[in-house]
Structure formats: C-alpha cells, structure tokens
C-alpha cells in the first residue's frame, strides 16, 4: 500500500478528512497505516535540493561533534545523559543521514526520524546558544519535521492540527461566527461589572489589534474577557478582527509550511484591512514565534517583519505599567515567593526577557529567578507540540523533570507562566510529580492587582 486512507502525503483540506482522522481514536489506524506508508525517495530528495539551503548544509558540515550541546538539552539531562539525546547526534543521525543517502531512506528510518525530531526535541533552540559554531539543532529539527510532513510521517495530532488551520484558519474548529459571537458574549457578561467595557470588532485604525489563541474562544473565553478588562482599564483604543484573529500555528509544529503561510496570511490580511497602529498577541509563546518571528518569511514579506509592529502580551503589559496606563496597588503585590517561566519562543527566540523582568519587579515582592533563567532557561517540556502528542506522552513526562527541579530550587509555590503550552506543561508536571505548586497567566493576576480609576468602577446600587 503506497499511501493510507488517513496516513498519507496529502495535507488535510476538507472537513470530511478531518472528521475521519478525529474518529480514529488515538490514531490507531493512522499509525498502522504509517507502518505501510511508502517513502517517495525521489520527491524527498527533490524537496531537499529545493529547500535545504546553505545554512543548514553548512551546519551539518561544520559540526565538530564536540558535544558542547549535550548539557544544553533538557532531554539529555532528564534522561541520565543518554548519548543518543545529544542534539548533534539527534540531527546528524536523522537529517544528516537522509541527506548523505540522498533521500534514499525507508519507512523505518523516517519513523525513527519522526520519533527523534518530535519526542527528543521541542525546537526550543537552547542548544544553539551553547554551540561554539552557532549551530541551531532546533531549526534543523523543525526543518526535518517539514520534510517528514511532506512524506506523510507526522504524528496523528499534528496532521489534525495542521488540517484545522487549513480549514478553519485556527487550531480548533472555531468559525468566524463562533468567534464574533464569543466576543459579543464576553462583552455582555463582563460589562456588568465593568461599565462601558466593549470588545470592538473590526474597528478600523485602532491603536491595538488584539489576536488570540483559538483555545480561548473555544474553551476559555474568560481569557478574552480578561484582556478586555485590562485594555478597558488602561484606556486603550483596541479592536479584534472578525477574521485573522488566530495567532497560533500547529502547522508550524507539524512542519506544514503551506498551512503556516495560509494561517499567518489571514492575520496579515486583517492588518491590511483594519490598519491598526500595532498588534498585541495574547499570552502564548509559539503563537508569537509563528506570527511575529517566522510568519513574515512564510508570507514572503521582504522586510522579515510583520506588516504592523507587533507586541507580545508581556511587552504590552510592561509598557502599560511603565507609562502608568495600568497602576498596581502596592498592597496587592504578590507577597509570597514567585518565579517566572520563560517561554522559549518569546524570551529566548523573541528577546523579551527584560519585559518579563520589569513586570515581575512591579507585581511581586519576592521574585525568584529560576536557574538558569531568561534566554538560558529550559523549555517547560511541552514545547514543539509535545503537550498534545499521545504517542510521545511518556517521553514528554520524563522531560518535565528538569522544569520540576528548577521550580523546586526557587522555593516558590507560584509560577507565572504567560504561555498556553508552558501553563499546560506546568499543570501536567504538578499532576504527575505533585510538588505543590500553583501556576497562572498574567491577566488574572493583574486584574486582582490594578488600581481601577474611579470612573471605571462598577456603580454601587
């Protein structure tokens, strides 16, 4: 059988395909089909020749196998320094080998490659800052995921995720109507306690275009309500787009580059349509990386930048605190020891460590850095899509140990984690290892701490 019904080289583009995949519980049939999926070696080699350019070829070539990347990798540390977890080995034995063999690899090899670049690498890019030659294994693992995707070797959840983006322009089945309706609902619900609060939809020329993670409208709409409260109190002139509101990209985790392009293009189209001064993205790490850092390249923007200036949520909060748009009631600052989870995607890869520190300096009395922290902090363990891939659950859970030990060493019982996937990984970490911690996004913390100007307070009856 060259290709399976569910597991094949075609991306998911119709609702029927998506439903068929979802009905295959845990991807049982999908992975069975994968065992018989034929490798199209010619297409693979063609793709490599077309897309594997000098940067990656140079990296693969100049790696001296010095092993300095080993201890930079949390998987290596969490797995008792298993040599097969050394980043250089992981990429040389997969992508390096595929190229050396000019794409002539078999099914078992591509499955080994898939298991390596998904379950042994979250594309956190930490190893790149420890390599004396600047080799970024995370980037190469991500590139390899793309090659695998083109051959149909991608985890079942990733196939579904990228299909969601292609069909709904969102990682979940949230339609434009659902989204708009949810914003209206939240405005209705929230304006009771916050008179005058609105969630303006498609307002042209606003100062801020706010975009989110689809899990917010789908399951956690109060996140949108909380964002609205903070914009309201800060007096921002803001809006959400009716289309192009989704920042995340499971297509990026999957390596579905066309899906990635379609997704970010929808956001850039919203910018063109509504002409906001700036965009702010919600508390999500990979969403920022996808839409702000990588997106412009997927969309072929020559500047390498988003069409309008874009801020991660922590940048907006830091700015609002700095300019006094949001004021913290000093009595309500966090008294207990508290630590901060640096999301790889907007801290290491986005350079926003200072913004996060500034926020913590304003809201916490006893802020404790993890060791290492900032750009050098470890991945939570849930990056790169790992939180959601059943096939690699066990490996993910082992990986969480590094974050567990980092948190324990701070002595803090509260972890501020302004990233959906970090939040989830830390929640899972607590569920598995029971270390007695709590974790939170910034928005609910801030709402309980800000000084509300007299005219915005609810009127007492």
């Amino acid at each position: 059988m060259p290709e399976g019904k569910l597991c094949n080289r075609q991306p998911v583009t119709t609702l029927e395909q998506l439903q068929a995949l979802l009905a295959d519980k845990g991807g049982k049939q999908y992975y069975e089909e994968m065992n018989r999926l034929e490798v199209d070696a010619k297409a693979l080699w063609d793709t490599i020749q077309r897309t594997c350019k000098s940067r990656i070829r140079t990296w693969l070539e100049i790696c001296t196998h010095c092993g300095l990347c080993a201890e930079s990798c949390f998987y290596y540390l969490a797995n008792h320094k298993d040599p097969s977890q050394v980043p250089a080995y992981k990429i040389q034995s997969t992508l390096g080998e595929i190229i050396r063999r000019k794409g002539r690899v078999d099914n078992a090899f591509l499955q080994y490659t898939m298991d390596t670049v998904f379950a042994k690498c979250t594309c956190c890019n930490r190893c790149a800052i420890y390599c004396p030659l600047g080799i970024d294994t995370g980037v190469m693992a991500s590139y390899t995921r793309g090659l695998l995707f083109s051959q149909g070797f991608t985890p079942w959840e990733m196939k579904i995720g990228s299909g969601m983006h292609r069909i709904f322009r969102a990682q979940m089945d949230v339609t434009t109507e659902d989204w708009v309706e949810t914003c209206q609902w939240m405005a209705e619900e929230t304006s009771e306690d916050w008179p005058g609060l609105e969630i303006p939809i498609d307002k042209e020329g606003a100062d801020i275009l706010y975009t989110v993670n689809a899990r917010e409208p789908k399951h956690y709409p109060e996140d949108i309500a909380q964002a609205a409260i903070l914009f309201h109190v800060a007096g921002e002139n803001w809006t959400v787009p009716s289309e192009g509101w989704e920042e995340t990209s499971l297509a990026m985790f999957a390596g579905d580059w066309e899906g990635c392009r379609q997704q970010v293009q929808s956001v850039y189209d919203a910018m063109a349509r509504l002409r906001p001064k700036r965009m702010v993205v919600t508390e999500c790490g990979h969403a920022y990386r996808a839409t702000v850092i990588e997106g412009p390249y997927w969309a072929g923007l020559p500047t390498g930048k988003t069409p309008v200036e874009t801020l991660h949520y922590v940048e907006w909060v830091a700015e609002a605190l700095r300019t006094g748009k949001l004021k913290i009631d000093p009595r309500k600052k966090i008294k207990e020891p508290v630590t901060y989870q640096d999301s790889c995607n907007y801290i290491r890869n986005g350079g926003l460590a200072d913004a996060a520190r500034y926020i913590m300096s304003r809201i916490a009395e006893d802020f404790r850095e993890m060791g290492p922290s900032r750009e050098h902090n470890f991945c939570c363990g849930g990056g790169g899509g790992l939180n959601g891939i059943g096939r690699y659950r066990e490996q993910r859970n082992i990986g969480l140990k590094v974050k567990r030990d980092q948190i324990l060493a701070t002595g803090a019982k509260l972890v501020v984690a302004p990233c959906h996937n970090c939040w989830d990984a830390i929640r899972d970490l607590e569920e598995i290892y029971r270390i007695g911690i709590r974790w939170t996004f910034l928005k609910p913390l801030l709402i309980n701490m800000i000084e509300v100007p007299e005219h915005l307070r609810p009127r007492e009856e």
């Binding site: 789908k218 956690y220 849930g382 939180n387 959601g388 996937n421 609810p458 009856e461």
Partner: protein, 307 residues
C-alpha cells in the same frame, strides 16, 4: 413561565434530586427540557485529550466516546426518559462555561443543577471542586434563574404554597423578588419577603447595640414596604419579615419556620476569580444546608415583563 429548561448534570447521584425536579417541570409545564452533561475538561495548551469529569482519567472525545457517554446518560435517566422528550446534549469544556454557553444560545428560562457531592463517589474531590465553582460561576453570569436542588424535593412545583425571597436590597435581588413573585402568582403560593440585618457587618468585635439593631430592622422593613412591595403590585399573599443575625442562618431558620418550598435569592459577588473568593457567600451556605431548592436570580431578563 417555563418554556425551556436546562438541566445541567454530572450524571452522578448528586444530581438525582435535581433530575426529579427537572423532569417533573418538563411534564407539568409542558416545557422543552435540555439535559446537558459536560463530560471533559480540555487543556489550555494544544491537546486532543480531555479530563473526564467523572473518572478524572484522560480521554479522547472521539465520536464513539461521545456516543458512549450519551448512551450512559440514557441509561442513568432511563426511568425519566420514558415519559420525557428531553434532548440530551454533551459538551467538552469547563462545566460552568458550557452551561452558560448553552443557556445563552437556547435562551432557557431556568437552569437546574445539583449541588454537593457524596464522598463515596469516584473522584469526589474533583466533583466537589467542580460543583462548587460551577455553581458560583453559573449563578453569577446566567441571565436566567439557576435552581439548585440539593435534597429531595417532593412537592410538585405547581403545588408550592410558600416561596421565600431573601433580599439584600441590591439590584440583583430585585430581580429575585420579581421572579419569586411571578412564580408565586402562577402557582398561587404565599410570597414571604425576608431580610436579615447582618449583625456581623462591621466586624464581630464590635457587636451592634440593641437600639441600633432595632433601628436597622425598622429601616429594612420600611425599604421593603416602600421600595419593594410596589414592584409586586400588591400581591395579596405577601408577607414581610425582617430578622437580625447572620444572614444565611436566619434565612434558613425562616424558611424552615414557613415550611418554604423554595428559597429565592440573588447571588451576586464581585470577586473576579471565583476560586479565590471565600467559600461561604450567603447563597452557597444556604444551598448546602437548605432542605428545599434554592433559586439564584441575578438578572432581570426573565422578569422583564414585570418591570
């Protein structure tokens, strides 16, 4: 008065008493009943699995699984469903959010829920947490009354003879009063308007003097008579009572004394994070201890015709 009802159930024995009331109301009022079971809580980050609210296990809500849960629900409520046209709906999400979502979408006239949980239940701790915060959050945001049935309610609602409305003079409690009146008028019940002067207000360390208390009782009575009674247009079966004490204790005592079939109150709280709010707002204390159902009414939407 009840054209469409939403019965939100955990499908465990904690909701049995609420189920009886829900199916009975469907029949007596010829209402449309929607039975909602929120079966799993999804993750914040990416993932297809949800935490099953009953077992605490991770499950993937495939179509098969949803069908299986629906079948389970049909079995659980088989006896009721024989004479019912209830529509069964399952949802993925946080229970309170999905209850609110469906209630809003269907514009239901009332939400019915169970309250406490039993220790012998599998995953009881999870239940209690879910049930407690669900109640609080649903009651705060629902546009319709939310009725919590904690103990067996043997009286048919059409035969209710005593409805107690607890008021704290807030805007929300006006809606509670109007709704209590609307129901009392429809079934011909007595309407007892009640207020408890809170002796703990201002702190237990400075107990109010007797003169002060009596003054406050008189003032409350005056407010009820001048501001509230006109709103219920001289309904002749109305009584007014003002006591002093700890509000939830007094309202329970009063309900017991009047053999109340239903307590109606507002459940407004301004706590932003319900998890952080102290356990023990008056309504929740009443819900946990009351022997009759408790209706929480916080919005005027379902009494707009009386305004």
């Amino acid at each position: 008065m009840f054209k469409k009802l939403l019965f939100a159930t955990t499908a465990s024995p904690v909701c049995d008493n609420a189920a009886k009331v829900a199916f009975d109301l469907e029949m007596k009022w010829e209402a449309k009943l929607i039975l909602l079971h929120v079966l799993g809580i999804p993750s914040r980050g990416f993932g297809l699995q949800v935490v099953d609210v009953r077992t605490g296990e991770k499950e993937q809500p495939s179509p098969d699984y949803l069908e299986w849960v629906t079948e389970e629900l049909k079995t659980t409520y088989a006896a009721f469903l024989e004479e019912s046209n209830a529509r069964i709906v399952t949802a993925i999400g946080e229970p309170y959010r999905e209850i609110l979502r469906l209630a809003r979408k269907e514009d239901v006239d009332m939400i019915l829920m169970g309250a406490h949980s039993r220790d012998e239940e599998v995953g009881a701790a999870r239940h209690r947490q879910v049930a407690g915060s669900t109640l609080r959050r649903v009651a705060k945001a629902a546009r319709c009354p939310v009725v919590i049935v904690n103990r067996p309610c043997t009286t048919c609602w059409k035969l209710f003879s005593n409805i107690v409305v607890g008021t704290d003079f807030s805007k929300a409690s006006e809606s509670a009063l109007l709704w209590g009146y609307k129901l009392a008028r429809e079934v011909g019940a007595n309407l007892h308007v009640f207020h408890a002067v809170d002796i703990t207000a201002g702190g237990l360390t400075r107990p109010a003097g007797q003169t002060d208390l009596e003054q406050r009782i008189q003032e409350a009575r005056r407010r009820i008579e001048h501001h509230l009674l006109p709103k219920i247009k001289g309904y002749e079966k109305t009584t007014v009572e003002v006591w002093e004490g700890i509000p939830y204790v007094e309202i329970l005592k009063f309900a017991r004394a009047r053999q109340a079939d239903l307590i109606v109150m507002a459940h407004h709280t301004r706590e932003v994070d319900p998890e952080e709010a102290e356990m023990g707002s008056t309504v929740e204390e009443v819900v946990l201890r009351s022997s009759c159902p408790v209706a929480s009414v916080n919005h005027p939407d379902k009494v707009a015709d009386l305004l």
